[in-house]
Symmetry: C2
Subunit: 251 residues, 2 copies
DNA sequence: CGCTGAGTTGATAATGTTCAAATTTAGTGG
DNA sequence: CCACTAAATTTGAACATTATCAACTCAGCG
């Protein structure tokens, strides 16, 4: 295990977000926003025992596919994951982007089979949490049970927010809302809320927001022209957060 | 308690779906699709002890409101509930309709405050399940814990389906999908999958599907003209289920 | 029996899609 | 490191679908 850590560090020397193995949840800098949140040290140790850390996923690689047997939920440790479903007629629908510290795969619990597929948008590492073990542990650790209920509940609430967005909003509002969501989630991880790199393509953004690529592109151009954003390929700088917030809920 | 049951029966003599108090989950005909699903008799008794049954809600009455303290989740016993959020600029977004045997309120767990409001679309009765009690019980009843995880997971999966619908589909597809969803859920409750009464207004339908009332109305008219539906006010008869299914995923 | 809110229908306008083409970026092999 | 190619992105113009506005009909209710 230690050997691999050294190997990987050699491969990725100056990466700000390396994909190195974390020895445990205890020394993971994401623990405060991830599953261990609100657990005591001894409890984290127990959680740690069931968590499996495997080697990073390469860009484009799948973590699981729709209708795969459901075994585990996953916590993103580095990189970005995208979840999507394929409709009956073969179209794709992106249902979410997952950043470090966030949990994915919870939609598979209900049927014991994954309701969506998950693939890496860039090199990414995840922690695997076998669900049966998590269930058992939850039964004996009220804090963990509570927190996992909360995580699922948050996913519901966030999906409902997306529903509202898709149902009501103009293209400008949708894009603005996504950028603000990314900004907020960056802040939670102590990253810049104004400067970041979009790990997903314009196609993915459009797909997620229910817009065509062309429309997304036009919105970016327009926002740049208005001085709200600076767009340089995938690099985004939010120049005027207030204006962006206004655009996000301007009727 | 018994007195009230009699009173209510006097008020509602021939109702196919009366709002009478259920003595317990054990003799509730919804138990097979509701929270007690997969529990053993003795377990149902324990669940029963924490369930609170109160008097029916009148049409338009709220069960809870957005940002109310979260205390309980609720199971619909009769009638229909609608969940909705109010956006910052005062617009409403219907996030779901809940029929007998279905659970609502789970989006409030994450923040200890409800993320949506719930109101009765017609006279409706609900079972209240205090969440703290449910948590405690779950810790000692693996089946219950599992089932509740599954219910939340299903809510996630269903929300994602709605996201897909809103993101990709034409007005026809959306309306068709909603009708099929209602049809399926009716079948689960041993009601007719082809003849039913829409308890929600056209405005609510449009709001839920991200369409205007006018568009919903036009879609109904069109489907009627095509011989797929018979629409008479709120009464719907599905004349050609296959055609409706084709419309639901026709690109 | 008239009133009120819900639902339907028609005409017009707006927003975003589609199709087409140009341009830029990223990846690959020499 | 550069040239080359494929992929991603941007931009423009025509078109389509749905929203909007307005008028009308109908159902339910005092």
């Amino acid at each position: 295990m230690n050997t691999q850590l050294i190997d990987l560090n050699e491969d990725l020397p100056v990466q700000p977000c390396s994909h190195e193995y974390q020895a445990s949840c205890n020394n993971c800098r994401l623990s405060s926003i991830c599953l261990p949140f609100a657990l005591e040290a001894s409890e984290i140790d127990q959680l740690d025992n069931i968590v499996q850390r495997s080697k990073p996923l390469q860009k484009g690689q799948h973590l699981y596919r729709e209708s795969d047997d459901f075994q585990s939920v996953f916590a993103v440790r580095s990189g970005t994951m995208k979840a999507y479903r394929t409709t009956d007629d073969g179209r794709e629908q992106v249902t979410g982007f997952y950043f470090p510290g966030e949990i994915l795969g919870m939609d598979g619990i209900s049927n014991n089979s994954h309701a969506s597929s998950a693939k890496a948008l860039e090199t990414a590492a995840v922690c695997e949490i076998p669900f049966t073990s998590l269930e058992k542990l939850s039964a004996s650790m009220p804090h963990l049970q509570r927190h996992f209920f909360q995580l699922m509940s948050r996913e519901i609430a966030e999906d409902q927010q997306l529903i509202t967005l898709l149902s009501k909003s103009s293209a400008d509002e949708r894009v603005a809302a996504l950028l603000l969501s990314i900004s907020t989630r960056n802040a939670r991880r102590k990253l810049s809320p104004t400067n970041f790199r979009l790990s997903m393509s314009r196609v993915d953004i459009g797909n997620y927001l229910g817009l065509t690529v062309e429309t997304v592109s036009r919105v970016f151009s327009r926002m740049q022209k208005l001085g709200v954003l600076r767009v340089e390929n995938k690099e985004i700088e939010i120049l005027d957060t207030d204006a962006l917030m206004k655009m996000a809920d301007a009727h």
